[in-house]
Symmetry: C2
Subunit: 568 residues, 2 copies
């Protein structure tokens, strides 16, 4: 099959590229127009009855997840679902001195296959992952604590979309330069100078993807597919609490690569022993030339400072702000924000934390509302949204780890509680820790309160910060983004002047802004092919998902020039 796949003319009808060229072209069009598009349905009914996927997931539990990788020096595991189930899956632990050379040996054939073949193989991997979306949904649910529907959508089709988006950007970037050019420079009356120039996209080396606990696939796929599609072998080091979704990904990738007659060692898993700190060891290996990381600011900063041999792409922590200045749809504002604060118990890097509200209140279509009223109404909206336990469970999911629970429990100590958190019983999973969000009132003019609202408090905690004026809100927004970073900024205003101030602040500080969301789109959600996730221009992340900069430095273009007419 490889002989067909690597056909240098690119004209022969090829099985894989035939199957995926239209999808690739639609993806390329979507990243240019940024209109709505997705090849992967988000409705579960598109994926059958779900029983097969559930059974496939169950069959993985309490077993050894063999990937047939070289350099396996033992087995490791120990994932416990936030819903209380012990997964009992054991993964290969790598001997990097064996595994990395095996991966490096796989590189030349993958490099020489060219961008189109790499895109086709990558799309086939995504396609097979998509077909197993139900299985992945359970794996994501029982590692991240997301509720099933969110695990299904965000961990399934939405993650696949982000992977496809990265493949499209990688393909576009690599094919900006032609494979060959004839260069003829006139020399007046003398013969022209002429050269044949061949250009090849060559990868940096081995890429390392360091996964996170909350969105193993959604945050992992952009880097994974961007690196693979640009020719780099990819080593995946999952978060120790969220190995299974990425182990499944690696397994599918290895199967597809082998079927396409490439070395399956182009993709491998690096599961770690408890407390091993494997990411830190791998990240500074000379073979590792690209790193994608999602997680804490401390380790992201460490990677940027220390993994100097690699291109490092990080998504770290931030403090997300929503400015509430005025609205012509007060009930829409309340319901939209209540949903944003509740979804996955606020455990999204995009969840708003600081709600800045003028202490004199805001103008709304329901009359002027003082700061206290706005906060009380928002608390009531959250309470109403989550009043029914079944609905609360479906929205909140479970707290991903004990640190989130600790932060939630500490939140009432920093200010007046406007909405207390409550424990929601989960009849199906009695050990799941399910909690509604807490809203704490703080005063932006009190220096003592600043320590709280200027620190990321990851989880279902938000601060209703009273500010002196819209201008003061914008100034605090600027300072927060500059000093702490932000993945998202939201704002509600009917004032063109205030809107302009907020836009200027976001342009100056490189933050992505959602204005006046009152319907079914939320500040903490972004759509692949259309929305940029993060900006790469403030401390929350050094890259955006996904743009040219996210792919352009994962490979280099190497030129061979020779006199025209000579043999290659």
């Amino acid at each position: 099959m490889a002989a067909e796949l690597t056909d240098p003319t690119g004209l022969t009808a090829l099985p894989l590229i035939e199957r995926h060229r239209e999808t690739l072209d639609k993806g390329l069009a979507a990243i240019r127009t940024r209109e709505y598009w997705s090849p992967y349905p988000e409705h579960p009914k598109a994926y059958g009855d779900g029983e097969t996927g559930k059974a496939a997931f169950d069959a993985l539990l309490h077993s050894r997840f063999d990937l047939d990788q070289p350099g396996t020096d033992g087995w490791t595991g120990g994932e416990v679902s936030p819903y209380g189930i012990e997964l009992g899956v054991e993964y290969p632990h790598p001997d990097a001195d064996v595994l990395l050379p095996a991966m490096r040996a796989a590189l030349p054939a993958w490099r020489d296959a060219g961008p189109e073949t790499r895109a086709a193989v990558s799309l086939e991997i995504l396609s097979r992952i998509n077909a197993r979306t139900n299985e992945f949904a359970h794996a994501v649910m029982h590692t991240s604590g997301q509720a099933f529907m969110m695990a299904f959508q965000a961990g399934g089709p939405h993650a696949q979309d982000r992977g496809l988006e990265a493949i499209a950007y990688a393909y576009a970037e690599q094919t900006r330069t032609p494979e060959r050019a004839e260069w003829v420079k006139p020399q007046g009356k003398r013969d022209p100078l002429s050269l044949r120039k061949d250009f090849k996209a060559v990868p940096r080396g081995i890429a390392l993807v360091i996964g996170c606990n909350t969105f193993p696939t959604w945050n992992g796929y952009p880097g994974f597919f961007a690196s693979l599609a640009t020719g780099n072998p990819v080593l995946v080091k999952p978060h120790p609490r969220a190995v299974l979704p990425l182990a499944l990904t690696v397994k599918v990738a290895r199967e597809v690569l082998a079927e396409a007659d490439f070395d399956p060692n182009l993709v491998a898993l690096a599961a770690e022993q408890p407390g091993e700190g494997l990411a830190k060891t791998l990240a500074v290996r000379p073979e590792i030339r690209v790193i994608d990381y999602t997680g804490s600011t401390a380790f992201g900063d460490w990677l940027e400072a220390n993994a100097r041999q690699a291109q490092v792409f990080t998504e770290k922590a931030g403090v997300n702000t929503v400015i509430i200045d005025s609205t012509d749809d007060y009930s829409g504002l309340l319901s939209n924000l209540a949903f944003s604060l509740s979804l996955y118990s606020g455990q999204m890097c995009t969840t708003p934390q600081n709600l800045l509200i003028p202490r004199d209140g805001i103008d709304t279509d329901a009359g002027h509302k003082m700061y206290d009223e706005v906060v009380a109404d928002l608390a009531a909206a959250v309470g109403g949204l989550l009043g029914d336990d079944a609905r609360a469970n479906a929205l909140l999911g479970a707290l991903v780890n004990p640190d989130v629970k600790s932060r939630l429990e500490a939140a009432p100590s920093v200010g007046e509680v406007a909405l207390a958190s409550r424990a929601v019983p989960n009849p199906e999973f009695p050990d799941a820790v399910v909690r509604t969000p807490v809203i704490v009132k703080l005063d932006g003019a009190k220096p003592d309160d600043e320590a709280a609202y200027m620190t990321e408090c990851f989880g279902p905690v938000s601060f209703a910060v009273a500010v002196d004026s819209p201008e003061a809100a914008v100034e605090l927004l600027r300072r927060t983004v500059r000093e702490k970073g932000a993945m998202t900024v939201g704002a509600y205003t009917t004032s063109p002047e205030v809107e302009r101030l907020i836009e200027e602040a976001c342009w100056d500080e490189s933050a992505q802004l959602s204005l006046n969301l009152t319907g079914g789109v939320y500040v903490n959600q972004t759509a692949a092919f259309s929305d940029f996730h993060g900006s790469g221009g403030n401390p929350a992340a050094n890259a955006a998902l996904c743009d040219g900069a996210f792919v352009a430095n994962r490979f280099r273009v190497i030129e061979v020039r020779r006199p025209s007419g000579t043999a290659s």
Copy 2:
């Protein structure tokens, strides 16, 4: 004029963009096809009789070069031409605490003007620089030591080409994302979700260009125009021995910006006091978010490690190799290499240093030639090329500084001299230090010789290194590129097997390869729009001139999304 220039519809006929849109479009086409193209003639006759330019240059000497910049706290200068002339020009010395805020204040209007207006203004700057090419030629000659014709071409139209290339890449990258998108997501039987999304390219902040002594314009223009065209104010810190060409550039840019009703402080000069180390101070200022640097590896590495608040693009030192395996045009090989070694006294970052020749010799169209014969024939070719003093002066130029002279004088101590350097008298400039290249024989199998050939010896010094076989040559090439970096690799071979080995080495180590050059194209020359200068993938440089990666991270795309149909 600004009102016209910033016309948001982009439909009105605008003076500047009318003047330059065709040039921009041709540049955009050229970077896609990589065929020959240049808008700037390289023949002096296209620029008049030269007297006006010479007079303009003379008028600059022994005077104060006023730029009317804010934050000038004194005057500094002291350039002495490598041809022996004291330039006597004084430049403003900056008070960064005043100048940088003034530059930052100029940013929003430039950002808001958009990519097309920025491209048009940047092209106007280049166009006015082009019109003064004769004046720039003298300024480059008397700071770099290049001979006049080279200063004219490389410092004039070829540098301008590289600037235009960067503008084209910047424009293409910023316009990959549309200014606006309507996003409509179907929701089955319910109303679709719809959002209006506005995208804006926002600059990183202030960009710093740190110029070099040998190619102040050619190496300075890519970063200068890439940053300016992506919306960043640009502060130019020239090499203290090569201020004038970049001061002229800054002056032209400020004039054009002011005429287009932009703040001229978008571009400023930072000339330093002797021994001040101003680059080091400026590079870590928080306002500086992009840095372009050409120069020593030591300072380039320091910038990459310490200027962490900035995107850092470096071109550092390398050790360039030519493998001589076999040829079907022995005399072409000799004359081509002789020229490459002689041009600008080997003071190009692209000049070959190590010539790897099998000790058993090479097959040629003139019979088999043993190592000693090849070296002797090459020495004779260089000697012949430079036998005439007038021609030697026109090719060699002057040694740029005493360090180069010291290295040249030390070279004979490391091995057997195959070609001795000779001093060439320059009747017009008796104080110019003009020297022909030295060729020293070394043995690749002798560990003692390695210290010499594995170190960059910048200047007219090359090493003819005897190797055991073509395979040994390729292995040494690989190691040299990996450990020391390389801007160029050259090779002569008629063997497809050896050619393939060399290509593989260049793909693996990210080095740009020129094969079998025997005519009028030389390994040390690259053409804008077609050839990549450096690869960005080996230690000689972390960026290539010019590609998507060179521009994509100089700006970020900020999105503002709001419900469709609402006011902006």
